[in-house]
Symmetry: C2
């Protein structure tokens, strides 16, 4: 049970430590016969490299940090982990998640970032960083990849959703279904920095204007940041109450996430609003609940986005020059049972 080192393998194979190192890492300049003997010796002894020692000596940690603003057991974040793992693991990298759930821990992390040598790259997911932090990222020697970031500023590479196109499709659908008044429901975020969902509401407005809707045909719900005590259920109640009490109620809604859309639909139905007959609802994400709830929604694929981000991370770590470091990923509108023609045009 003694800890094996490269030296044990060297003795077993009758060569020097350096040769073992080279042979096992598949470098050239090793005699094929020698390599064979070393590999067999290593296998016989169940030898494994100490990643710490390798890293220390080589200066490469073979680790990439995945920075999250909130829990990893969400549909989006866990998909990001999976996608990143799929491309990073085969390339020999460990992924290590890091969560900075509040401003304080985020500040602390960024403060020590410049001196951090514990990763070869960092993938930052769904952060909306201020100018200072972005500048800090730019100064980093380690490559930084923005995933679902608000903008591409400050990152060496980024993968973002084309929110503009996504909302355009959705609004055009509503328009062609004859809906005259539209609503956008935002899920009032707890963190001022988490998720760049603001771009969705902005894109909604832009799309609506483009399609000819006037300001008074649009109602925006759930805007602004709420305090700590403000729960998901509170947000649902607030949004439902606003909708039910609005004199000139919209007949179609775009909702920030599927999760929120589904909860809102349940609440509305309880109060006699029929979906989709009285109210069309379009979600965002196409996460697991969307098909279950038969929800019309905007499909995005975070696993795929994370694969792209990880691929870029690898390129950057290998100092490859990238022709297109910043990617805008498209979405797809998925028609299901929560959308219908406006009541006025229904027979």
């Amino acid at each position: 049970m003694a800890r094996l080192t490269i030296h044990d393998v060297a003795i077993e194979a009758g060569v020097s430590d350096s040769t073992v190192s080279r042979a096992l890492r598949g470098l050239d300049r090793v005699d094929p016969g020698t390599r064979m003997r070393v590999e067999e010796a290593a296998k016989r002894l169940h030898f494994t490299f100490s990643r710490n020692a390798s890293s220390l000596a080589s200066g490469r940690t073979m680790r990439v940090t995945l920075l999250f603003a909130g829990a990893v057991n969400t549909w989006f974040n866990s998909s990001v982990m999976q996608g990143a793992y799929e491309v990073l693991a085969p390339a020999g990298y460990d992924i290590v998640p890091l969560i900075t759930p509040d401003k304080q821990s985020q500040d602390r992390y960024f403060e020590m970032l410049p001196g951090n040598r514990n990763a070869d790259a960092i993938i930052v997911t769904s952060f909306d960083l201020d100018k200072d932090k972005l500048r800090l990222l730019e100064g980093l020697t380690m490559p930084t990849i923005g995933l679902d970031s608000r903008t591409q500023d400050g990152y060496d590479a980024s993968v973002r959703l084309d929110a503009r196109q996504a909302m355009m499709e959705a609004v055009q659908l509503l328009h062609s279904l004859g809906h005259q008044r539209l609503g956008y429901v935002q899920q009032a975020s707890m963190h001022e920095f988490a998720f760049s969902v603001k771009s969705r509401s902005e894109s909604f407005l832009t799309a609506a204007k483009t399609c000819g809707y006037r300001q008074r045909d649009l109602v925006m719900l759930g805007e602004g940041v709420r305090g700590d005590g403000y729960s998901f259920e509170d947000a649902v109640s607030t949004a439902a109450a606003s909708l039910l009490s609005t004199p000139d109620r919209p007949t179609a809604l775009c909702v920030e996430t599927d999760e929120f859309a589904v909860a809102l639909i349940a609440r509305l139905r309880r109060f006699g609003v029929r979906v989709p007959e009285d109210m069309t609802v379009i979600g965002f994400d196409d996460s697991g609940i969307a098909p279950v709830a038969d929800l019309t929604t905007i499909h995005q694929d975070p696993v795929h986005m994370a694969r792209l981000a990880a691929t870029q991370a690898i390129a950057l770590m290998n100092h490859l020059r990238m022709e297109q470091p910043h990617t805008l990923v498209g979405t797809r509108l998925i028609l299901r049972g929560t959308s219908a023609p406006a009541p006025s045009v229904q027979r």
Copy 2:
């Protein structure tokens, strides 16, 4: 931008490297004044320890491996990551996920495990390992924690669900609702080793017998391992077809997971089977879709289970003797809208 070392801090603070190391790690035997100066110097320089160097020197990697049999973007696995993170991160440990999706990669991983020095502990999630691998785990110097494992054998500590009690509650409910014939639906796993869900079906049978059901009152669906091409949808179809074609159809089902239960319900309804009027369905997990689908189910909390496992990991890494290394976690039956009295007793 030169990489800072402990030595830079030592010079800045006017002390030796050793003193910096001791001061920054909060060890005793350091003069309070000295400690202050060192801490300030470190902060001024944005110094961060190289975890690789620390690990190599101390022999502790400050890393724990989370071993999964499948994708991490599932409800269960992502919850495990979250729970493990919550207790491991504050204690200074990184968590690094490792997925062995097939027998081959699993074998490869276990083969190199004995020589592995890249983690201080390993949490094995939802594996059903054979005798050889369990023996291998026992021989490991590194503590091994089983989470949702089939048994506690081979692990230094374990956290498992009390499947027996869980199914007992469910079956008792069905019994008291007057259901005479029961079904259990299994989701035919792709991997022979993944998830110890077998214990659920076994527990179902035991519970049913205990409640007085005879073998001919029980139908077991979806047993056995399927090939690679066998999809989730295939499994749903197969189960639904079996149910619809059974001459003496059961009036109540326990289903292995919520996900499968919800899909099965949708399929059954499409063929005119009313849930819960004609068929009661009870899921397992109480994951996100359960409330959305208004599904009666058995609640478990993998985040909590992972927190327990991580707590045990920390204790073991600190060589603490544990009074109760093996925990059996209870479940709760959650009544929702997919369960009702048997048709025969309905007015």
